[in-house]
Symmetry: C2
Subunit: 341 residues, 2 copies
Amino acid sequence: MTEKTPTVTDKSITMQDVALRANVSQMTVSRALFDPEKVSEETRAKILRIVDELGYVPNRLARNFGSNRSNVIGIIGPDIKNSIFAATVQSAEEVLRRAGYELMIAHSGLSLESEEALIASFISHRVCGMILHNTSHTDRARQLIRQAQIPVVETGDLAANPIEMTVSYSNFDAAREMTRFLASRGYNVIGFVSLSTAENSRSRERQRGYCAALEELSLPYEPQLVMEVEAGYEGGRKAISHLIESFPRIDAVFMGGDVLAVGASLECQRRGWPIPGRIAIATFDDIDILAHLLPPLTSLRLPREKIGRRSAELLLDRLSGQDVALISENLGFEIIERSST
Amino acid sequence: MTEKTPTVTDKSITMQDVALRANVSQMTVSRALFDPEKVSEETRAKILRIVDELGYVPNRLARNFGSNRSNVIGIIGPDIKNSIFAATVQSAEEVLRRAGYELMIAHSGLSLESEEALIASFISHRVCGMILHNTSHTDRARQLIRQAQIPVVETGDLAANPIEMTVSYSNFDAAREMTRFLASRGYNVIGFVSLSTAENSRSRERQRGYCAALEELSLPYEPQLVMEVEAGYEGGRKAISHLIESFPRIDAVFMGGDVLAVGASLECQRRGWPIPGRIAIATFDDIDILAHLLPPLTSLRLPREKIGRRSAELLLDRLSGQDVALISENLGFEIIERSST
DNA sequence: TTGTAGGCGTTATCAC
DNA sequence: GTGATAACGCCTACAA
């Protein structure tokens, strides 16, 4: 058996291997690859050719370790399947990868302890930055981040007490505006449905916004009009049935979550309750389906993609040395009025 | 200003720091943490106490580098927002994290070249394994993986030519079965709608399955009954309108994608076309909403979570030394019959 | 433009 | 059970 192809070696190729073949020092190979202006045209060409021949791939682990700075950014959210978080991850990833960074991902459920453990894990990996889709953290989590001295962007809500940078819309403002919008359209017995406010600070803020608007509008707060349900279409269906049956005067409902709203809409259709004739429906997060429902649902368009993009950009700014202290970027929202109100 | 708290140090705490405080060598600290049986009860306790006091966090970068084996697994899919991929990521992450691994994530669109670049990037990070939500790859991508000698699981479809391990259901089989199912219910002018088969091998396999079933059933293949549309609800809506108007004899349609099916269902409602009276609808991927539509849609339940879980488990098996060569795990699917057929 | 020396924080290996 | 020492593959800093 002739050996036309080199025998398979177990160890991967290093810069040293390239250097030997090119008759240069290992440092010159390093420069040719990552600091090309500092190497003569000629040697660089030779080195690149050999790199290609050998199929050399730089060892990022060694690079990051040696230079004491990684190109990995960590991102933590409650649930990867969650549409806002998924959009954030995707758009952040696009920006970061183009700039040469990698993304480490983890989900924490809604547990702050779990988030803390994930943060610790990321920091032990020496991530050079983090995006947290959450604005409440354990004390130790905050301390870990401070100690690690890495840039962090919080999203999911405008952090009241940001660690450093926060990029979001305000759940409170958005809910408040939408409630006011419903009132401006003549509805005055407005229900509010969300996920558990005890577990989820975003739901809590939305509920607060709803309450604040009622107060401003001098509308009475009716405890029976405020519900918390389990996630899922079923939750939305049950909620609207319950509201209509237990509080027949209700004329509008503001669903604090997209899936809940779709469930509610479908339940109304099934029951033959006209929207908005019997009840108007408005909701958070303008997911695509809302425009196709019968009738299309009025909703809050959140800057999903932009949140990820801006978060990434701010991280990059900080990583390139810009020493901007506390940043709070309110990306706002938009009320999309459709025929459900 | 008295110094009650130690001055902030820029550099993070190392094993050496712990070792000095504990009056042991740095190696003993390493053992106390990661090989505890090899250290006396007494010294271990002392070391752990000091680790805690100092808030020492092991440097994973250094560990991975020093041991020449990382605890990071890479995962690449077409689109993080895609429901099947998101479920795969989430369930894989749960299994892997429990075993002490991290996840690096990237999305490739549908471009094989882009996937290749991402694979190269992951390999340069010395990921210890990969999950690819795709079964077609460039030659160089395959070569990179072979050369890196890391375990890889392919998902998204049962790979015809697996690199090593593949965990999925068969898109071909599933489409074939569903088409046969529709025929068994008495429908015999069955349309098929999917995303672009040129760009997406999964769509292609689904279309092939549909065609194969027609042939087995001796039903004629009508080119006008087979459509490819853009992703989104709008695509599904346009497709069903077009099919019904241009081929009125149609009595059922098999939507090769969940969003398309929802769009089609909503369009039928809007048009007043009874389902299944005017046209029956069946679809891929039993997303939650299908059960709540009017009428609920018959669909293929895919083992979404299980795909991620099993992929992760197989990787872990391989990483713990089990040298199983080619594995192809067909996780199957299930037809969920609802009133739309 | 190129090279040399030293170090990054850990693990592997061998000695005590 | 514990310690010393040499890697690991690259980058920083300085020298030629």
